[in-house]
Symmetry: D2
Subunit: 397 residues, 4 copies
């Protein structure tokens, strides 16, 4: 039940024509970059944001290192330094550029990175034409899903770069990740009982969704709509950012350290709330779904309403009863392994498991998520203080 998006997103990748999917996904990354100037590809303003150039290169690196080097014995890497330069966090794959230095690597330049992409694409096309084994198909599908994740990061990272430029550059007129309206209202009821949680069947899932298992849930009611900007403005105007009693202790420290007063990208101009969007600065629409809050803000808002966030299990059990995908939704579940979770051997095993600490699960999807990329069992995760993804919340009563 993914909602419409404002972007001409590609069709789902979970089909059977892998070669076509490959083209669609790879092309879409480049389409996202079409409105950029060369300069925009370079900076890394903060450690958790990566330069667009790096996303372009790293997604190609994934196909080169995990697939081409392994499955095409005669494959020659595009450049011997790239396996070092564009590794992200895979310790198995050797040393890598320190994360905070990504923005200082001006060479290879953007054009060469595009040549790198073409080179990898050409080799992948040959590989796909030669026919694929089940193992290889699985890896290619993983690579495409990996690239889709970086598509979402690319657009949110770019928003961070532009949103911290005092002149607020426009990525594309009228483009907004945040103008999404609720299509439903009211509350869905879920009865107490045992529910099955985790991926069951379908074309693809990440390893962190496996281990289908039973969870006992008490009865609860969950909102069919997401919290809106207007509701959040009420929280702000009621002094929510100044009342320690609503906040987790580390959330209150975050509020004080950053003098937080509103979601990321919000600016109060002559008494009216505005927000930076990729289409430029605009007034905050009170009817649109709230975006760019961190877990601390989500939990404080819920406390102020006298309600709470759903657990990821409640969310998954209730998900057939509401539409989702407008916005990643903070849950009150820590990102931890499911029963029988085990890491794959080697570098692929570093994909998810090693991040299962100090992060909270988000469910759903957002306007920046490629359609078909998410599903009801999808487990997204971020540290509780981070705001730069398209994150909102849904209440449980």
């Amino acid at each position: 039940m993914h909602t419409d998006t404002l972007l001409p997103f590609p069709e789902t990748t979970q089909h059977h024509d892998l070669a076509a999917s490959y083209e669609v996904v790879r092309q879409y990354t480049e389409d996202l970059c079409a409105p950029l100037q060369l300069e925009d590809y370079i900076p890394q303003p903060v450690d958790f944001v990566s330069p667009p150039k790096w996303h372009l290169a790293h997604t190609s690196w994934f196909f080169e290192e995990f697939i081409l080097v392994k499955f095409r014995p005669d494959y020659e890497r595009y450049h011997p330094d790239f396996s070092y330069l564009f590794n992200s966090y895979y310790n198995h794959m050797g040393s890598r550029v320190v994360r905070t230095d990504r923005g200082n690597i001006t060479r290879p330049g953007v054009e060469e990175v595009y040549r790198y992409r073409s080179y990898v694409n050409e080799a992948m096309r040959q590989l796909l034409a030669e026919g694929t084994s089940a193992e290889l198909e699985e890896l290619i599908i993983l690579g495409l899903n990996h690239e889709q994740q970086h598509q979402e990061l690319l657009i949110t990272d770019l928003k961070y770069i532009f949103g911290h430029n005092p002149i607020f550059p426009v990525y594309q007129e009228g483009f907004s990740l945040t103008e999404v309206a609720n299509t439903e209202s009211g509350w869905a009821s879920v009865e107490a009982g045992i529910y099955g949680i985790g991926f069951e069947k379908g074309d693809f899932c990440y390893d962190n969704e496996l281990g289908r298992h039973q969870v006992y849930l008490e009865a609860f009611e969950i909102s069919k709509s997401l919290v809106t900007n207007g509701e959040y403005i009420e929280f702000i105007e009621a002094g929510g950012y100044g009342d320690f009693d609503l906040w987790l202790d580390e959330g209150w420290q975050w509020v004080q350290q950053y003098a937080a007063q509103a979601p990321l990208y919000w600016h109060q101009i002559e008494g009216t709330w505005h927000q930076y969007t990729l289409g430029g600065l605009q007034r905050v629409n009170p009817d649109s779904v709230l975006c760019h809050i961190n877990f601390y803000e989500a939990a404080a808002f819920a406390a102020w309403k006298g309600m709470r966030l759903p657990t990821e299990f409640e969310w998954e059990a209730a998900s057939p009863q509401f539409s989702w995908g407008q916005r990643w939704e903070w849950t009150h579940s820590a990102y931890l392994p499911y029963p029988r979770f085990s890491k794959a051997p080697g570098a692929i095993g570093e994909y998810n498991g090693k991040f299962m600490i100090n992060q909270m699960v988000l469910r759903g999807g957002s306007t920046a998520t490629s359609p078909g990329h998410s599903r009801p069992t999808y487990r997204n995760f971020f540290h509780p203080h981070l705001q730069w993804q398209c994150t909102g919340l849904r209440l449980v009563n």
Copy 2:
């Protein structure tokens, strides 16, 4: 099934003679300080450790501010500045000395803090003699449990202070928190099914144990013994601290930042592992239960064994089948609210709920825990990088 301890701990506080319990618990805090020199009461070597003097004062502050000021209208505070100086983290109770400054406040001196304790004790005795309401009794029991928690912190904080002095002072000859042997061996089996979790009945529990609820568990086997020093030395000698594949990503960062190579307080002297204990430096006994590891180390060790840590729910369900209390045991559960959890109004509500983020649950108890203080539903919690509590692990297969 709390095991014997090395300290002459007071009897349990969960009895019906509250006045007697009050005396026992309050006296025990002072008994713990008997071997100290005046200088030892003062320092705060790191932000998470508090000076012994501060523990003495803060536990009295709790009775003064939460009970005497409220229930004895004619009560006069011992000193007007103390409500400010000895507040820990209760925002409801007004401003407080910044946590990292606790070690720089030399006045009031230790003697005056003892006078403060006597003054509060005298007033509490009168209050207890006058008869108590249910609400008041509940608060006093909370105050005594609060003081027992600080007793454990006092002795572990003191170990931190002494353990970071290059001359390794002796607190008391022969005293050791770490010389504990397993009394059982083998594995306990738990069948798949629904289990009740959370506090059911008894004299006292914290609010974070309430919300008795059902949890579905898959079948598992859990060790009846804790991991020993000898087993952990095997992990060290197998290069466990050098193999990133065993560690969570943030755990690996911790290893590298601190060049971690062994549990806290361990020193390799001429090829043999020694550890600082409150009885002085001594050889590590391979048969004793492992202590002073953080969650990252626990999880890495389990990964190396090809096993895992129990969840807090598995631990609680299996707990009738093994003895516990030798050592706080890291579980693989994040510290989060149980169903129907709600904070009490006012300052008492700050006791537990606001810390429910970025911490992991520990179950059991330790040689530093006052007997009767813990119970099978008790939820202790610390950040995953901290080692200075008496922390070990139990494996699940």
Copy 3:
């Protein structure tokens, strides 16, 4: 007695045809950027380094804000945001982009910054054509000297950006700031007596050179040559970086914090010292003049030789006796005001005076300095730990 340089530097600006000088200096900044790719204009890898784009814009900003806005009543700024975006440190000129954010401002792009330069140039040409007052001429000459200073920073900042890229990009084949040989040898003697110090007559000087005054000097001998790479390698091989006795206390802390073992950009490859140059990685030539050392290294080397650095007064008094300009030379003088020093009113007064603390004076010039820019009374200054300028040393016996 400025030596030849490797760059086709423009002729001196201290002539009487100001309009011609304006063209030469402004063009040279752009010439320096000719070998760049667009990506190279963007990053700021460390707070003391600025992006090339920023240098291009800021030098234009200087003419716009200090001259055009003031002397051409009808002048319209190129863009209202630029006075904010491209201010460096002039508090009088209003708020500015925080220094560490300079590398994250991708828009305005490089092309637009060049248009900004053209726009300013056009307005300056008209102003120059209309005839200039003495006050205006003085400001224009200041602006050109300011731009020359940024030319030197531009090339050294670029070296820092490229020199920290693991693939060591080439700015221009054969281009090296560091391949300079001594042309003289032996020692110059200076007799005890009173010497005049400070700017006396000529076309231009900075305010920090004014206040011509007398200084009494004891007799000394000063080397006619600069220390070479070969001599410094002897110091390294003798264990100079490991002997605390040779270092100032804060220098020794710097050595330990950064595990310093050699000048900036030096790498030992299979036992041989190499250095990154703007022409790529190359072997260190033992006969070339030493470069990229900080004051701590200069002082430690001199201590190891049993000698010392000259004071800036000794250097100035002896300067007619040796050739200079191959390399900025650390002196043993702190950067402090001369007698009768006074700041100019307003923003121009922020040029030099407010930096007169915690910095050391350098005398001479380097291969990156525009010819004619320096003179014997010129006082360059940097913090003692910085290495990224073309800095070496001359010994006094």
Copy 4:
């Protein structure tokens, strides 16, 4: 011309009865500690402040390590760990406790440190009774001057500890380091010419005063009085802390980082300036000499007056014309070596020379300085941001 002080300071040590001097100086350190409680000996609230216990021990360590171990072959150290524990910054003397850990070392306790002092004293008495060589006498006099320096640090460090305790403990009723009045007024004139600078003759000086040399000075007028609190309040009330134009760049950063608004220990209470003194909180006396300002504040005040600070050479040349010793006076001279300065070999050589960077010279003395300790050629030095010494300023016109 040292002025009267409020403390019953011991007589000068520059006499010929070394044994008597030894007793007087050593006793005086202990006299300073007489009003302390045991707790006060322990904390180190900030890295540049040392615990009183540490001063007591380190001054004894100096006699033990530099004299007794060397000149009494049969001498046995009091305790083998102390040479490690109580070393300050002498790299030649082996490893030492990291500076920021001094406040966490509770054992050895205060009593034992006093026993250590007695033990060292007894051995020193025997050594002195046996007769001394010139070399030995020189070292003992150095040790006594070293101890006097630590006496001043002890009392200013204690003020820092007490002054940051929210209850403002009283060291001794009526005791104040800051209540000092000017005894002179008007201006002294110094003619242009050559002046001799540096130690000429007398009983003792530090190595940094040696190298008597000539300095040419222009004519100047210097105030015979120090700036008072009242004059500084005018600066505050005129907005001095808010006007960037008065400050050095790093001074302005300091103002902003610490939101500085007044000298250290000043508090505005209901519109009136108070200051913490060792006799408790009291109103600021406008006629008393200003104290506890750093170099940045001194320079900003002078700029506001349209005047400047003297150089250390001007101060020394003018010093016969005014009384001094009320307060350490910031000069506008960086702490650098005099001509012909050379470090003594070995650890004694670490006394002064290695600190000659990034610090400014102070001349004079203060109410916390032992009488006879200072002299007109004495060069005190501190980093420009530090306020906790008894520091003021004298203007030059």
